[in-house]
Amino acid sequence: MTMSLDKFHSDAERYVPKSPLWQNLRSTFIDIGRGLSRYDLWIYLGWREIRKHYSRSVLGPFWLTLSMGVLVGTLGVLYAEIFKMDISSYLPFLAVGFIMWGLIGGAITSSCTVFSIAANSIRQIRLPLSVYMLQFVWMQFITFAHNFVIYIIVAILFGIVPNAYSLLEIPAIFLVALNILFCAMLLGPLSARFRDIPMIIGSLVQIAFFVTPILWSAGQMPKRAHFLGLNPFYHFMEIVRQPLLGQVATWNNWIISIAITAVFGVIATLFFSHCRGRIAYWV
């Protein structure tokens, strides 16, 4: 054994003497690649986490489904009266809106804690940080799948039959999943560093819920309300909601959603690459 330092490997695994940006991006992609290859770990951990949370209750995660189901049922009847709308079109609209917002809004809020709740593991074992993010995305979809039962019941009750447009739900959900991952890449490290971010995000998500057509529909807006198009959530809501109602979102909604995803993806990747090495110190 020597202490000589003359020996250097050009294929150094972690520190490549190139520009910091390139080096950071490379580390990020290696991290994500390794995280993806450990899919059995995050799938297992995600299931466990959900199961653990509800281990002593009879209904398990279906408690959430039940509470959302009751909410959709009562609000559906109430608002159909207030807005003077046909319940058979309003209630399915509201149900799908709530289920999708449960996924989107819920994911944004909880993406803030993706690293801070894993602080102990991050400091104790060597795992790609993407494992925690992928586990997080996976858990959002487990909860979503439980809530999806409401849609099935509503679809049966109101005779919504899936058609060719319903297939568009698959790419739409995929886009949402990507954005949830980007959220975790951006808000996870940020909230680990600044502990008041989750509170700020929590309020913003609540506001977003009310300004996005979930309780009300875009069709009820006066013609001059162009600002609706400025709300990114509106476009995402349209592309995930319309296929489930057997309708189709506009090209505009799709193009804007894809563009947002692309821009957000670049920002999130750059940001995550920038602070990936610091996360272990921040949590």
Binding site: M1, M3, R14, L45, S121, R123, R126, F194, R195, G277
Partner: protein
């Protein structure tokens, strides 16, 4: 071939207080040009845990780290494990790394012994299939018998350690990093586990262990590294390093900073 190369590594660990954790305060501090800052230099406090540290370990090395609490032993192990990225300097680690920093980590008190074996095994790097194939072997190794069907919270602490130990030592990494815990743990159990540990340690291509148990270090390591204030105070034959370290400790005179 396992290899560790550390070149002039410095690690600064930031210390955050409630104020520097707050975005609002940081934004305000920036916006007011620092004039109405509640305190001077908020958020800029950090501890230099490892200072200009260089090391080259080749396949077959068995290194024992000694030093006072806070000398930087755990931090350098975390750097080697890839958990902490150094503030300055370079680290090159070749070979599959397993780090055992907390023997009880990743155990779920509500889950049964079997589930905990799977959980901890997967956290240590096994795939689901691999750990399930090894389940019986590890189960037998724990010697816990039917207790494995019971939740972990019903175990005595000795039994829990036994379980954690059996899983942790079932891996065969090229590079093994161990921090404390084991040496400080249950002495009687350690005597029992010695044989198992010997093979475990023997199978690793490269071992770095930090411990306050000099006897343990002498048994497992050839080389010693004495750390002080994040720097290398002494590097050499394990016996010599421990002797010098002990003399220093007995003299009760911590070396001048």
């Amino acid at each position: 071939m396992a290899e560790i190369l550390v070149e002039s590594v410095t690690v600064d660990i930031p210390i955050f207080d409630a104020s520097s954790r707050s975005l609002k305060n940081n934004v305000l501090a920036a916006a007011t040009g620092g004039q109405i800052r509640p305190r001077q230099g908020t958020g800029k406090i950090s501890v230099r845990a490892v200072d200009n540290f260089s090391l080259h370990l080749e396949h077959g090395s068995r290194l024992g780290l000694v030093g006072h609490n806070g000398a930087g032993k755990s931090t350098i192990l975390r750097v080697l494990a890839g958990i902490y990225e150094p503030t300055f300097g370079r680290v090159h680690v070749e070979g599959e790394v397993a780090a055992i920093f907390d023997i009880g980590f990743g155990m779920d008190p509500e889950a049964t012994g079997w589930e905990n074996i799977i959980l901890r095994g997967m956290l240590l790097g096994y795939s689901r299939r691999e750990i399930e194939a090894k389940l019986d072997e590890i189960g037998a190794l724990t010697g816990l018998g039917e207790f494995l069907d019971m939740p972990l919270r019903t175990y005595s602490s000795g039994m829990a350690t036994r379980l954690a130990f059996a899983v942790s030592t079932s891996i065969t990494p090229e590079i093994l990093l161990i921090d404390e815990g084991i040496g400080a743990g249950d002495a009687a159990f350690l005597a029992q586990a010695r044989e198992r540990m010997q093979t475990f340690v023997g199978e690793a291509g490269l071992l770095v262990i930090a411990s306050h148990s000099n006897a343990l270090l002498k048994r497992w390591c050839e080389t010693g590294l004495w750390m002080e204030h994040g720097q290398i105070r002494m590097f050499g034959e394990i016996e010599e390093v421990i002797e010098a370290y002990q003399e220093n400790a007995e003299a009760g005179a911590p070396a001048a900073a």
